[in-house]
Symmetry: C2
Subunit: 367 residues, 2 copies
């Protein structure tokens, strides 16, 4: 089957285009999960993840599943039945947090915002005045709408409470600043296939010491053996590593290389590159009769929701981009299905020549 | 870090040696998880997994986690709080099933057998005479001891009950016959990094229609969004695929290739090769003063527990094998730590010249 796979410029909501160096790392010989050489790689990955997350949290590691497994692990470990959870919802991934926490027995309250608009701190403040919560959760970069939420302001409000603060950085990490320690965030997860330009399959994750202490006070075991952080740390930490599950060795090679790439470029430079690619796209869209769906102040650089013009069949445009131009862009989800395209400028896809190539292709199709 | 990775002959309990063709597949360009070309690969993988599992189950697919995620998914979906679960335990992975099912609220009964000995059907029969169960679970190939359990006989007993039958085939699939339909097994999971010779990271999984109907009758949602089979099938089945989570694209390329390799060789030929490699090892061990820990009738071909001779430091032998000979073998777990080595002859590692290389190296070290 695989001979049909040609290089494709991935400008959807993720996965993003993966560089050759990361694909080469992925294909290095598999070694054992307790091999001292692999332990060194694990330690290197942990250290680089701390830099990228801007945290000194000891418990910082990739989990063996995609970004959604990071969300699952967060709530499975931090929420016990009856715990009060506040989720700030302005898109698919906020809704998903609500679903995940509810399934785990959390008493979930949401504050909802129109899709395409950000979480409003004043409404969060009002919700916090009413009730107290054990956990407060929000998505940094809402991949379904292209909206960035004001985590700095929300963090300030959360810090006035005793709640643990959960932030989903699946789409933001590597593309805009993710400042875990400055936010005093307690559990933060991401994915590899967005701004880190690594294939999907791992969930970078970090947990504060305060949240870790909360884990130790759980009254019942985590109802998820696979993602139980106390068990996972026996493999990922300390002088003697104990087998928990067999780590996805080659995926961790790839993440190791992807993180080295990000740090070689420098986090600040990577953020600037994402912003400039976004500005280039935003400037080019009106020239081909297109406009961005989100207000300028709340736009994410790496996820651009573009309004589908009246009379245009959005699926046909995506199909032609893929088949004739080898470019993938994404469709809208939920209430935004058929109304927007989602153009990802993530990681290696956020380069001037790629933006130009996309604009040219869309121009050809739409004219 | 990766320049330190050299090819290593993996003869531990998994991962096994991964062939070049699979590593090459892993490094093919990443494409989108809803790309029609990727949907074709998914369909191909599903179809080949049905052949390898010897099943016609519609719900047959790889889950986005390692073999242990397959175990987690099985119990998370099939066990509701208060369900009566019987686990047959004769090693680490039976104990793990007990732990997983208990965390999910199952009322778990175990029948335990000495490690290194098989599950005895007569004791299972006695347990089934006493009580009825909703789920009965057993490990086919107990990776911690090298014992094969008599699934055919256990299956016959389980079929006289209404219980769902769960079989862990993490280490057996591809190495000895796994006959899901003949066993009338309801949920069977495996791992990619054993006899399929693919890197770790996915859990091949199959569910019977009967078990699927049981899912539809659940009284509460699966407490694990990431591994909820009803949600996963909306992505893996049908004409219109809906996004659930972003599939580990490149890992699925690798599994696609690994399954093609197995089917090109032929399942029966692969089983014969595993058996012959085991016989070669079993014949060679006494010549260097070593013996197998398990009685001949219950030995697995792909996982050979070798008794550590008195006066030998088992860790030193493993260290020298790895550092001087680029060969990995495994240590004992739990009560067998320090007492056995675990020599895996899985997938590509089960070749005559590899067995010879290992025996020569051990001879040099032990003499």
């Amino acid at each position: 089957m695989l001979n049909r796979i040609t290089e494709t410029l991935l400008m959807g909501p993720g996965p993003s285009t993966v560089t050759k160096s990361v694909l080469e790392a992925l294909a290095q010989p598999t070694i054992g999960h307790l091999d001292p050489r692999f332990i060194d790689i694990m330690d290197n990955v942990k250290s680089m993840l701390r830099t990228v997350f801007e945290t000194s949290n000891a418990l910082t590691m990739p989990l063996s599943g995609t970004g959604s497994a990071g969300m699952e692990a967060t709530f499975a470990n931090l929420v016990e039945p009856g715990d009060r959870v506040l989720v700030l919802v302005n898109g698919v991934f906020g809704k998903r947090m609500q679903d995940v926490a509810t399934r785990l027995g959390g008493e979930v309250t949401t504050v909802e915002f129109e899709w395409g608009t950000p979480v409003r701190p004043e409404q969060v403040q009002a919700a916090l005045a009413d009730q107290s919560f054990d956990v407060i959760a929000v998505v940094h970069a809402e991949t379904s709408t292209g909206v960035g939420n004001p985590i700095d302001e929300i963090a300030t409000l959360v810090q006035r409470t005793d709640a643990l603060f959960v932030v989903d950085t699946v789409t933001s990490l590597g593309g805009i600043p993710v400042t875990v320690d400055a936010w005093k965030a307690d559990a933060v997860y991401s994915g590899t296939q967005k701004c880190l330009s690594c294939p999907p399959g791992l969930a970078p994750f970090t947990l504060s010491d305060r949240a870790r202490a909360r884990l130790d006070r759980r009254t019942r075991p985590v109802p998820n053996w696979y993602l139980d952080l106390s068990l996972l740390t026996s493999y990922w930490e300390g002088a003697k590593r104990s087998y928990h599950h067999t780590a996805p060795i080659n995926m961790i090679y790839a993440l190791d290389r992807a993180l080295e790439n990000v740090l070689e470029e420098g986090l600040a430079a990577a953020h600037t590159r994402h912003r400039e690619a976004h500005e280039q796209l935003a400037a080019g869209l009106p020239e081909i009769g297109l406009s961005l769906f989100v207000e300028p102040a709340f736009r994410l650089p790496m996820l651009n929701a573009v309004t589908v013009p009246d009379g245009v069949d959005e699926a046909t445009v995506r199909k032609r981009l893929l088949e004739e131009f080898d470019i993938e862009i994404g469709a809208g989800l939920g209430p935004l299905a058929g109304k927007i395209w989602r153009i990802g400028l993530m990681g290696e896809s956020a380069r001037p020549h790629h933006v130009e190539r996309l604009l040219d292709a869309m121009k050809t199709i739409l004219q």
